[in-house]
């Protein structure tokens, strides 16, 4: 479920569900895959808190949780900073070992 196509599909679902009132059946019609496959993608997004299902009358529509999307983006940004710090320290260590072997 983590292949490039899956990434693309989930990204697209999140984008569509920002302002469209579509249920899983309508969502599934946009992709060249089975209803079950789309349902699985939605379930993964739901578990990550990125989409939620809302009841409108008799229908259940999938909506993007923008607040959660912002939180995840912010966490990923912080995680990137953490690794940038690590990479800087790795480089320092490599440079240091070059000096001492010279």
């Amino acid at each position: 479920m983590f292949g490039a196509l899956a990434d693309h599909t989930r990204r697209d679902i999140v984008r569509r569900a920002i302002d469209a009132d579509e249920g899983i059946v309508e969502l599934a019609s946009h992709y060249p895959m089975s209803f079950a496959a789309v349902q699985k993608h939605v379930a993964i997004l739901e578990r990550a808190g990125l989409v939620t299902k809302h009841r409108i009358g008799r229908r259940k529509v999938v909506r993007t949780n923008l607040e959660q999307l912002r939180i995840v983006r912010r966490l990923l940004d912080q995680y990137e900073e953490l690794w940038r710090g690590r990479v800087d320290r790795m480089r320092d260590l490599i440079d240091l070992s070059k000096e001492t072997t010279r």
Partner: protein
């Protein structure tokens, strides 16, 4: 710039970061394989890491903790999924209790390290991280991330300026 590419994917709670070093693959591998070297880069100076158990053989468990400025300790572990020196390392990483036993209440993530030799003695390293949940991300960032908090404060403007509908 030492980091050559970063790809962040909120939909999968994942990030891939690529970097290049002016060193051999063997030298870059040592940064992971030698616990004393690992300790010098894993945590920031304010939150140094101590690896108390370290063996990169598949099936082994690596144990470490990070010590904060107040003497607070945060424990974590890696379960080695596969290791192919000096090119690849895959670990499942999780959090531990203060006594070092894995905290089974918290789901584990995956970290995949790939090391590839380029021309002229250069080496590319890519780190792919896959998080099981936002809670795990938060806890991981809380371990040794005073710096992270400062960065976060500076990012508020960028977050507010972000238009989630952009790119449609």
């Amino acid at each position: 710039m030492t980091v050559t590419a970063v790809r962040k994917d909120p939909q999968n709670l994942s990030m891939t970061l690529e970097t290049e070093f002016d060193a051999s693959a063997e030298r870059v591998w040592q940064l992971w394989a030698d616990p004393r070297q690992l300790e010098r880069w894993w945590g920031p100076p304010t939150y140094p890491a101590t690896f108390t158990k370290h063996d990169l053989a598949p099936g082994s468990r690596v144990e470490y903790h990070m010590t904060g400025p107040e003497g607070d300790q945060h424990h974590g572990y890696w379960d080695i999924v596969s290791a192919n020196a000096p090119y690849q390392l895959v670990v499942r990483d999780g959090f531990s209790q203060p006594d070092g036993t894995p905290n089974t209440d918290m789901p584990v993530g995956t970290m995949r390290v790939s090391i590839e030799e380029l021309a002229q003695g250069r080496t590319r390293m890519s780190i792919e991280s896959l998080f099981p949940s936002t809670e795990a991300m938060e806890q991981l960032l809380a371990m040794g991330q005073e710096e992270g908090m400062i960065v976060a404060a500076g990012q508020i403007d960028a977050i507010l300026a972000e238009d989630p509908v952009a790119g449609r």
